[in-house]
Symmetry: C2
Subunit: 308 residues, 2 copies
């Protein structure tokens, strides 16, 4: 079978190559892949892995072999799941604890876009605690995780403020449920204080956003796209006693989380029309480079997916 | 009766002045004060309060009137407790939920030194979670809270590293249970990685200490004596997924904590010889200025107490 593998130069010229068929563990189902999604985390691996390395975490497809231990859905079931960095393949073995059936009416592309971005946003909400009636600020709100975080915070009863890098990138955020929509250059003055801040930008944006966090507030960071130092004013804590800051990394969270059940819940929200993964770029799996470049250059205002 | 009040110039010339006798609420006992302690937080209030303001949180003395609601100990009981910024007085009304009996054999000075510093250190440990067999780094380890934190972490089964500002200030820390003792200028290289960091220094010391924090580690900050911005390297979170940073402020914690019971436990540790509040300066309540200056100038390697 074919799988996408990394090029010799560490760049985005990822190409299909012949690889061995998956050899599932007893707790894994084999899935015929129909769509995969591209996360920024995938791109950051390109330069770090040796040439010929497999890639890909987000997968949607059809079960062709059930897990030998009897867990998980039967053959023919449409599923989405989290692969072990080998998901950009024609077939892949997925742990049955990290997949969920795709409800009728949910497209392959939306299902493939959901696992990593949706679970990251969901676990950010879990760390933030009860959001009912609370104000939540999402920075990087135009990104794949950001747009889902806006919708999940709203669904959890929060009043949501959304910040993005430009007026162009804020498009659609109000429709997703953000009550306040601002660009970074508007600064903290444009937004009311919040109990929760969900940040993936870091640097000056995080410093500005942090000013709005109330005492006993919660800051969940899941990225640092500016790659700037964390810098907060000297009274960061004294001015907001009890404030908590946590760095969330999905692959650190998953071993302690009911990933399959959580993914099933997110897929139901999509089926119900309550969550839109906002797929804005759909590319060809056999020629992935334009899609990878689009994600790398931040030309994608939402999620990018490759279809087989 | 007399109470210490703030001077007109906002400085340390705190003096006894005539004030009204305490008017206890039904849940308050009236205590004849024998010793009080001086915290850095008291000093930072000096410049912020109007002239003639009352001061003081840490109190040890004898109950002279029990609480009207029947709670708390009978008259004649020796107690230590947390006052409502009016504790540097001949008599004070203390909430019975924020005081504890002093066990036989514990001196007034040690009891008075314990409430604010001991509870701050204890709640830092509570946020850090299970410490059994884990490594804990305490910065500002020579201070009043720091020395107690070293002892409590050790008592909780941790292996403790202690950092202080100079070789002079590290004195006694090994005897309190610190396995590693370093000065700030030794840098992070001198210390092994830790699961928990308890910091009150901020700035470069916090930045250096943070380098040692492992994935899923916990950082509890309860002060920022350098008054520097919080500054951490760009990969602060990515290099240690799941890391948590919390700012602990005792007066934010207390409403949610069993303060009296916690203080009773700390006093028992002192009675058992398992905790030494390390009182190194004992001054005269009627002439508090030298003691306040000593704390303000960091001349006190431990706790400072005033006796009546």
């Amino acid at each position: 079978m074919q799988a996408l593998t990394t090029p010799a130069d560490g760049g985005t010229r990822v190409r299909p190559a012949a690889v061995a068929e998956p050899e599932p563990r007893p707790d894994q189902a084999v899935v015929e892949v129909r769509a995969v999604s591209v996360n920024r985390g995938d791109l950051s691996l390109l330069g770090m892995l040796p040439p010929g390395s497999r890639l890909g975490f987000d997968v949607a497809g059809t079960v062709v072999h059930s897990a030998a231990d009897g867990s998980g859905p039967p053959p023919g079931t449409r599923v989405a799941g989290v692969a072990e960095r080998d998901g950009w393949s024609e077939r892949v073995a997925l742990s049955t604890t990290r997949l969920a059936p795709i409800p009728d009416g949910v497209e392959w592309t939306d299902a493939a876009a959901l696992p990593v971005a949706g679970l990251t946003a969901l676990y950010a909400m879990r760390h933030a605690g009860s959001l009912l009636g609370r104000r939540v600020l999402v920075t990087g709100a135009s990104g794949g995780v950001g747009r889902i975080a806006v919708q999940l915070a709203r669904a959890a009863g929060a009043e949501v403020a959304a910040w993005a890098g430009s007026a162009e990138r804020t498009k659609g955020l109000a429709e997703l449920g953000a009550a306040d929509v601002s660009t970074y250059d508007a600064g903290p003055e444009a937004t009311q204080p919040v109990h929760v801040l969900v940040d993936s930008v870091g640097g000056e944006v995080l410093r500005d956003a942090f000013q709005l966090v109330e005492p006993r507030g919660v800051v969940v960071c899941y990225g640092n796209t500016t790659r700037a130092d964390l810098s907060l004013p000297f009274d960061w804590g004294h001015a907001r006693p009890g404030v908590r800051i946590r760095y969330l990394h999905l692959f650190d969270e998953m071993p302690r989380r009911p990933v399959g059940n959580d993914l099933a819940m997110l897929l139901r929200l999509v089926a119900d029309g309550a969550l839109d993964p906002h797929v804005t770029l759909v590319g060809d799996w056999a020629d992935p480079e334009p899609t990878l470049r689009g994600v790398g250059d931040r030309q994608v205002n939402g999620k990018a997916v490759l279809v087989l």
